[in-house]
């Protein structure tokens, strides 16, 4: 009974009858995954390469943060930045570092992480790299909320933030409801999202034409996405939200991995498909909407961070943690690049991430076509 299987396919390598294959690790590419087991029957599996990528990205993000804090009209050497952060700097530096620049960098890190994670979730749920929040119209939804506050009510910064948050949440809900047809399916989600995005973009265009010059300028600055002038009042809500949502999402990560293989397989493996998807999409919408409310619709981070992370880790699956770290790194580096090249507060970070993202997307398409996938 065994023979037909071994010889069944001309493409399988000819294998001698020995059993040595069975001794090899079965966990994919050789020694990549390490398993830690305790006596009590607990076991945790760690992907070595993915962990290395995460560590490197964290180092890069923190280094960029320190450099970014030192950058500006009043440059501070990295050593002084570190000393000040540890509570040992002089008073002047302490004010600049802790009150002006640190919150901005923290907002950048949190926004980047939230967008990276939200993007990874959306792409995994829709099983489509284009199923990211920017494409689905969540950014536009937040923009609409913000524009309503700016243009119609000339609202304060706080009101604009609330408006953006509400706009993002309402758009997310609308997409989910419209895409619902005995469950939400990938293609439908993307197509409905693109449709919603087109409608909301039209509304945004209309709102801009209704605005007077001052409001219109403010609106355009908000719409490019910027970290200028962010302070601690933006840090805390974001931090709190991430502290709740990140563990929730990571707790569902294993179920999400089975969803990648199709709803039927996930069902067969005992995943409550629709519930998992709802929980993760609500989390993703919250993450994206609050990140957008804090920094404006920073383009392309949600789209590119998960894809870049995945190419670095070279492992299948949603790569949630690497995507999160990649998002944070990308945003801080982009912020630094925009300040470095054009001077502080000159160019909104959204412009730089847009350029980075655009170049990346083209690179992705070119290489994927070479690999024969598209």
């Amino acid at each position: 009974m065994k023979a037909p299987h071994d010889e069944a396919d001309g493409r399988s390598r000819p294998v001698p009858a020995g059993r040595e294959q069975e001794a090899r690790a079965v966990s994919g590419r050789g020694s990549r995954a390490r398993t830690v087991r305790t006596g009590g029957g607990l076991s945790v599996r760690v992907d070595v390469r993915a962990s290395a990528v995460v560590v490197l990205l964290l180092v890069a993000a923190l280094t960029a943060s320190v450099v970014l804090i030192g950058t500006g009209d009043f440059p501070i050497p990295a050593g002084d930045v570190l000393r000040t952060l540890l509570g040992d700097g002089d008073a002047g530096q302490e004010f600049i570092v802790n009150e002006l620049r640190l919150p901005r960098v923290l907002v950048g890190l949190l926004v980047g992480a939230a967008l990276g994670l939200g993007g990874a979730l959306f792409q995994a749920v829709s099983r489509n790299p284009l199923g990211s929040p920017d494409v689905l119209g969540l950014g536009q939804g937040s923009t609409a909320g913000a524009l309503v506050m700016i243009v119609l009510f000339s609202g304060s910064a706080t009101q604009v933030t609330v408006g953006a948050l509400a706009g993002g949440l309402v758009t997310g809900l609308a997409i989910y409801v419209l895409a619902w047809k005995k469950g939400v399916h990938g293609y439908r989600l993307v197509l409905v999202g693109i449709g919603v995005s087109a409608i909301v973009t039209a509304v945004n265009g209309y709102l801009i034409t209704k605005a007077d010059l001052v409001d219109a300028t403010r609106a355009v600055v908000w719409m490019t996405g910027s970290l200028n002038g962010r302070d601690w009042s933006q840090v805390w809500p974001l931090l709190g939200l991430c502290a709740v949502l990140v563990p929730l999402v990571l707790g569902n990560a294993r179920a999400l991995r089975t969803l990648e293989m199709g709803d039927d397989v996930a069902y067969a493996l005992g995943v409550r498909v629709e519930r998992t998807r709802l929980v993760l999409m609500v989390a993703a919408v919250l993450l994206t909407a609050s990140a957008t409310a804090a920094a404006g619709p920073v383009g392309f981070v949600a789209l590119t961070a998960p894809q870049l992370a995945r190419r670095l880790t070279r492992s299948p699956g949603p790569n949630l943690v690497p995507a999160m770290c990649m998002g944070a790194t990308l945003l801080v580096v982009a912020d630094w690049a925009s300040q470095r090249a054009f001077g502080a507060d000159q160019l909104p970070v959204g412009v730089v991430t847009g350029v980075l993202g655009g170049v990346y997307l083209l690179w992705l398409l070119v290489t994927e076509r070479r690999a024969g996938r598209i």
Binding site: A8, S12, Q21, E22, L42, S43, D264, A268, L269, P316
Partner: protein, 308 residues
Amino acid sequence: MNAAGSTGTGSGDGPHMTTRPHTTTRPHTTTRRSAVDRLSAENVTLAYDQRVIAEQLSVGIPDNSFTVIVGPNACGKSTLLRALSRMLKPQRGRVLLDGHVIQSMPAKKVARTLGLLPQSSIAPDGITVGDLVGRGRYPHQGLLRQWSAEDERIVRESMASTGVAELADRYVDELSGGQRQRVWIAMALAQQTPLLLLDEPTTFLDIQHQIDVLDLCAELHEERGRTLVAVLHDLNHAARYATHLIALRDGSVIAQGAPADIVTAELVEEVFGLRCQVIEDPETGTPLVVPAARRSRTAAAPVAVAEG
């Protein structure tokens, strides 16, 4: 080579010819008490939205059988399988697994008892065979029990018994269709369920790989004591491999039982609307359906049947 179902539960009266009396139109619908079986559907009405596929359908899957569901396209075969695997909730009636309504059971518990190889499955980009098969362990794992030594052992065994062990480090996208199907079966095996449902496991495979997959199923059934339920298109494959055959048409069971007992020219014509002869398979002695020639089907059809 001992093909499964070569003997069936034949009553010992030798080969079955087309002249075999076909006593009633629904001879075997009540042969099984569903309460005995681990998996059964009781008076289920199955529908997608408003489109009703089957009404008042009752089916029992005999324990330790290799049950094959056959029937023409759109007769509800796959729908029935979806209901049995709790992916489709019956509008009326219930599906019972070990005496419990399947929808009321915890999802992971069901997944440790009943496995399913669906038609539509997606191999994630860049996944290796070993990784994919390992994902079949999901219902046995938890946040703090991610990869036990047992998981490792069972994945290795599943790959060995489906003949894909040597492919463990290959990417699934590089494999041929036959190899890929064996990998998915290995994943379903790694789930270690006493019951395994397969939705058209041989579709899109060439004949060699079809037989290969069916041999594997027979081996799982005979040597590992799994209860298998498969939807198959090919009636001759079904008759050769099944120990229990369920013939469906328009959402109702036309006949069920051992292939040797129920596969007759009359049944084939009733279920598939095809005139044919049923002869003895020279290899296994199971019924072999030979469609009538085109001319005799169109002109002198009744004669062809009577001649046997």
